[in-house]
């Protein structure tokens, strides 16, 4: 594992302690107060939370979250019983193109709870767990922005990025990555995982969680893959 990542994690722990102190009461405080796995833990003993957002675009400063889905990995298995999904109310008209993509129309989103009501549930599910996403920068950016706007504080947490893991695997074999090869379904295909219909935040979170199971299993050697091996 690269030195910078360890460095980040150590400073992250300190930062989180300080943020927990600053957060006062509420969901973010409880979230920060919980312990989470140490870096040397075998991955099956670590709890993860795969998360997927559908957004109106890619820029957290301009675009907003339309829906969120999450599902935990506990004991090396994806637990659907603890999955969560919600649409999120959008206060401005949605741009046409992405609405078509997600199959979510304006009127669906009007009845949905506002971000401030959805976030506590998500943070409760995330407590003590490492978030996982495919191309995690998007989730990282939007969830951080959401916490800033709702609680006035950032969401600082290390992510496992299934796309980054896949990129690293390709780099190790010295293979050139072609366009489209890093899409979620394309990555799943390489592990023999089934095709899901996609473009639903919960289904995509599940698809991402299953991909992580396959990736971590494939990385297992004599000793099981450790958390630190998954944080790229």
């Amino acid at each position: 594992m690269p030195f910078s990542a360890i460095h980040n994690l150590i400073s992250l722990d300190l930062l989180r302690w300080w943020l927990a102190f600053r957060a006062g009461g509420g969901p973010l405080r409880q979230y920060y107060a919980a312990d989470y796995a140490t870096l040397d833990k075998p991955w099956r003993e670590v709890e993860f939370l795969a998360v997927d957002l559908e957004t109106t675009g890619l820029d957290p400063r301009k675009d907003v979250v339309v829906s969120i889905g999450w599902v935990p990995i506990v004991g090396g298995a994806v637990r659907l019983a603890q999955a969560g999904y919600s649409l999120v109310r959008v206060d401005r008209p949605m741009p046409g193109e992405s609405a078509v993509l997600h199959g979510i129309l304006d009127r669906h989103v009007e009845d949905a709870p506002p971000l401030g009501d959805v976030l506590p549930e998500f943070l409760a599910a995330l407590r003590g767990r490492i978030p996982v996403a495919h191309h995690a920068l998007v989730e990282q950016g939007f969830l951080d922005a959401a916490c800033r706007s709702v609680y006035g504080l950032p969401l600082r947490v290390p992510y496992v990025d299934t796309l980054a893991l896949e990129r690293r695997r390709a780099a190790r074999t010295g293979r050139e990555v072609k366009s489209g090869e890093m899409r979620l379904q394309a990555c799943r295909d390489r592990y023999g995982l089934p095709r899901y219909r996609g473009h639903h935040a919960l289904a995509d979170a599940l698809a991402c969680a299953e991909l992580l199971l396959a990736q971590a299993t494939y990385m297992d050697g004599k000793q099981a893959t450790r958390l630190q091996d998954l944080l790229v």
């Binding site: 659907l80 019983a81 999904y85 592990y191 023999g192 995982l193 199971l213 396959a214």
Partner: protein, 621 residues
């Protein structure tokens, strides 16, 4: 919160036995799933281990082996693993290993047990012996009870050839010539490409010859104008009602664009009725040569198709089809006696093999023999019976019952003996069960008298049954023979999985499913001295004796009926597609319902084969 994942719910709902659960239960179940990924060669469970979930294979494959390492099953997409462990209180009985990278949907054991408690049809699927399930299989398969096809088939299906047509400007003479050339009894008259009239044989007789009309007049003058017709999509019963209401014998069928597609006749409709085996038999007795009998019998595939579609049992179908072979045999014997005169001494014609057992499903090879009275003198009577037997066997061959490749036919002098000769032959087979003797026994012990002096049968049959009854050596060897046909382990994807890990691409329903049951039933019956020859009748009678357990014989009867129906449905499909019927079922043809019940049937057969091996072959090695 809406946490339903359609992909998982639909996958579970699409696989047996979860398809038996109400939608709400499947949706709830899908929400409780845990997903696990196993890399190839990873162990899912080992004997003695605690198991707290039922695994459904979503992708990849698992393999189950017993503690001694014998292959028991392979599970591919949609199939279950860990079932036995859950049914044994949560302790693993076997080794289960991923043989390909596998994604599993796991259902918590508690939820699985709750579903079994609350849904009888679901629980049924997991009952410990396959027999219970097989009993329900016919009902669940949901065939309706229309025994005629009249409400299940459309008239278009009956149209066998293009209609014979003529333009309305043609003369009566041209019309008659067209009919004669095509050998049809009715002709459609067209105005452009639209139907405008119909002319039948009867019209030519009544409106032309009897009315002394000139054959040079236009056909339009004598046709029935604007005849009744039905579209090709009409149900058979609609056509039938129309024809009987208007007392017409020919009904034109039209395409969607109004052009004629063909003509059906009353006979076509009757032929389509399943009950028409009686009519066919009647037809056979009107014929005067084997060719004609063969023509009458070409309807057999249609009868099989209709009987299957109407939900008839394989037992009933076997009897119906065998009865036609009987009729053909009797009629050809009559023709032979007309040709060669009455027999010089009494004789009996016997059907053996599948016809003997009333288990034919098609015109197959003929198996038959003759018993001659003890007054038979080869020097004086030999020639007569040789001619008679040859005439009948060759006649049956012409009528579509091909000559037996094993030469088990009355035209072979070996199988045309006096009563005393036959008793000695059977005696030898029983006392010296050599391989050939055993092969013949499995054919000749299934004998049924067809025509001639019935007293000869009673005498012979009583004698051989008494001789075979309780004969340990003979029955032991018959059992050894019966065990040469083994059912497969089950299915894996589109392959038939055979013991030891081999596979086939098709399931031989006859040799790996039906024949083993027929063989076992014969052994029970002979051991008990029972006169029945039909397999189901033998099993029913055998459980009244102590030769086989009530449970075991019931399971075998259900397995036989299920395998028989799967075979008949397969054959009906081939017939419908215009192919010839065979016994080879490709796994991709099977629904997941059929697969799981076939596996049950194999299990029943395997268990009963092992039981027979220890009863009849204990110490024989």
């Amino acid at each position: 919160m809406e946490t339903e994942i359609a992909d998982i719910r639909d996958f579970i709902a699409g696989h047996h036995p979860f398809d038996l659960l109400p939608d709400t239960e499947v949706t709830a179940l899908a929400r409780l799933v845990s997903v696990r990924y196993l890399r190839r060669d990873t162990v899912l469970m080992t004997p003695g281990e605690r198991v707290d979930a039922l695994s459904i294979v979503r992708s990849g494959a698992l393999e189950t082996r017993d503690p001694d390492g014998n292959l028991l099953a392979r599970a591919g997409e949609g199939e279950l693993a860990g079932l036995r462990a859950l049914l044994r209180g949560g302790l693993a009985v076997n080794h289960i290993v991923a043989i390909e990278d596998a994604l599993l949907y796991q259902v918590p054991a508690a939820e699985f047990h709750r579903l079994r408690d609350e849904h009888a049809s679901f629980a049924y699927h997991f009952s410990p012996t396959g027999g219970d399930r097989l009993r329900g299989a016919r009902v669940t398969a949901g065939t309706d009870a229309d025994a005629s096809g009249l409400t299940t088939r459309r008239v278009g299906e009956l149209v066998k050839r293009e209609p014979i047509v003529i333009d309305r400007a043609a003369t009566i003479q041209q019309a008659a010539a067209t009919m004669a050339a095509a050998n049809v009894s009715c002709l459609l008259v067209l105005d452009g490409d639209q139907l405008c009239g119909i002319v039948t044989d009867r019209d030519l007789r009544n409106r032309v010859v009897a009315a002394a009309r000139s054959p040079q007049e236009p056909v339009a003058a004598i046709m029935t104008a604007d005849p009744l017709s039905v579209p090709a999509t009409a149900w058979l019963f609609q056509a039938m009602l129309l024809m009987s209401r208007h007392a017409i014998h020919h009904l034109p069928i039209t395409r969607a664009d109004g052009k004629p597609a063909g003509v059906i006749t009353v006979t076509d409709l009757l032929r389509n009725q399943a009950r028409s085996t009686a009519l066919v038999a009647g037809d056979i007795y009107q014929r005067h040569d084997p060719e004609g009998i063969g023509q009458a019998l070409t309807i057999i595939p249609d009868i099989v198709h209709d009987l299957v579609a109407s939900g008839a049992s394989s037992y009933a179908i076997g009897h119906a089809i065998s009865s036609l072979a009987d009729a053909a045999t009797i009629r050809i014997l009559q023709l032979a006696e007309e040709a060669f005169g009455p027999p010089p001494v009494p004789y009996l014609w016997l059907a053996v093999g599948s016809q003997g057992r009333n288990e034919q499903t098609a015109r197959s090879d003929q198996d038959n023999c003759m018993v001659l009275s003890d007054d038979y003198d080869p020097a004086r009577h030999g020639e007569y019976f040789e001619k008679l037997a040859t005439f009948v066997c060759q006649g049956l061959a012409v009528a579509g019952y091909i000559l037996c490749p094993g030469d088990v036919m009355a035209m072979n002098p070996k199988w045309r003996q006096s009563l005393t000769g036959w008793k000695a032959t059977f005696g030898r087979w029983i006392d010296e069960p050599q391989p050939k003797a055993l092969m013949y026994s499995s054919v000749f012990f299934d004998m049924r008298p067809i025509a001639g002096e019935m007293g000869l049968f009673d005498d012979l049959h009583a004698h051989v049954l008494k001789k075979a009854q309780g004969s340990r050596l003979f029955l032991g060897h018959m059992t050894g023979n019966a065990l040469t046909h083994r059912p497969p382990l089950g299915f894996f994807r589109n392959l038939v999985l055979i013991s030891g890990g081999d596979h086939d691409h098709a399931l031989d329903l006859k040799h790996t499913g039906i024949v083993p049951i027929v063989d076992l039933a014969r052994i029970y019956a002979l051991d008990a001295g029972l006169p029945q020859v039909n397999t189901k009748d033998r099993l029913e009678a055998a459980c009244e004796t102590a030769k086989v357990s009530r449970e075991g014989s019931r399971d075998l009867m259900d397995a036989l009926e299920f395998l028989g129906l799967v075979r008949l449905r397969h054959q009906a499909r081939l017939i419908r597609d215009g192919q010839s019927a065979d016994n080879y079922l490709r796994p991709e043809e099977l629904s997941s319902f059929e697969r799981s019940h076939l596996k049950d049937a194999f299990t029943v057969v395997k268990n009963m084969q092992s039981a027979a091996a220890s009863t009849y072959r204990g110490g024989m090695g």
